[in-house]
């Protein structure tokens, strides 16, 4: 499931991952490290909400 950053609007897509920060494609949002931050704005995981498809 995709997750949206509530602060800046960035969408984490597990199919894409976050390669710039060593997060491989296929990584579910729940499996991101606790200290992972939004690559656009630096928000923590707790600032994200699931995106309904």
């Amino acid at each position: 499931m995709k997750y949206r950053c509530l602060l800046c609007g960035y969408i984490y897509d597990p199919e894409v991952g976050d390669p710039d920060n060593d997060i491989d494609p296929g990584t579910a949002f729940e499996d991101l490290p606790d200290d992972w931050e939004c690559p656009e704005c630096g928000a923590g995981k707790d600032e994200f909400e699931p995106v309904e498809d």
């Binding site: 509530l6 602060l7 800046c8 656009e40 704005c41 630096g42 928000a43 600032e47």
Partner: protein
Amino acid sequence: MNSIEVKKGIYWVGSVDWNVRDFHGYTTSRGSSYNAYLIVDEKIALIDSVKHGFRQDMLAKIAEHVDPSKIDYVISNHTEPDHSGELLAVMQQAPQSQLIASAKGEKGLRQYYPGDYPCRVVKTGDTLNLGRYELSFINTPMLHWPDSMFTYLASEKLLFSMDAFGQHLASNQRFDVDVDFDILMHEAKTYYANIIMHLGSIVAKTLKAASELAIETVCPSHGVIWTKHLPDIISRYQDWCAFKPAGKVLVIYDSMWHSTEMMAEQIVAGATEEGVQAQLIRLPNHDLTNVVTEILDADAVVVGSPTLNNGMMPTVAAFLTYIKGLKPAKKIGFAFGSHGWSGGGAAQVGQEMEATGIEIVREPIVCQYRPDQAVLDQCLSAGKELAQHAKSC
């Protein structure tokens, strides 16, 4: 106006923009200022610059203390062009100077101002020694852009807070104690509501982190410097980021032939009967900047629109679009409005209100052509219910 000394060797070298009234849509009724700060030490640093167009003003103030070509470091706390607009001009005058910015700051600045200039990227905990003074940096992402950072001077208990704690307030005075307290707090509230209302969770975290620093003076990028009233503004920020309500009802509407207006007046009458503050706000007569400032600490926000071409009026749509991005929290409300035939305006308002985060407490109150007594009674009763909610908060 000349430069003003903030602390020994630290000067305000910014510009006052007395006559600006439209700041990317924010109505700056009292003008603004773009605050740049110069630190003259063994090394010379400039913290932020001014909006494009105020270059000579800033350079003249710098030149009161030092030849601008001698500047060693140009620190950008925030990429937005009202602060970065003349950074490049300074660096061109001082070719040996180095830009200091956050990682996101460097990225944004190089896009705004392409050029081959040296940049040191800093993050929380990094320091810059100027001689007598040592600056440190604190990333504050999304307060209110990803690049935002504070620059802190521990030895002087001085925080350069960029847009945080700012106010669009033009004055020839530079310190909080030298301007009218109520006007200052009103402009700080207007700034908070329109610029960072939607970032309350980040504000709360930043206030908590800042509480661990010794701070006596806060130098923001707009308006006056906080000294004596620093505890007051921190207390207000704590209230604002928690959306602490002030016990008031806002009735915001537009009207074509006074029917929606009659409904709005009855809602206000209901709240008034309960002894609660209520305001009647007809949108075209108010600018959104001030409406949003009122929304920040409102308990209830109801929104009315007649049906125009099967939808809501554009004035109401513009208002709802603006507040949707600002995410007002801890408010209840509902939609209302009149229509001639098929209707749809009030229902559309209700849907958009829900998307802003306002808790919808009833179906839209609607009427055809003119509200009859039953509809007016319904509006009166609804106004009383909103007021009772406001009293219970």
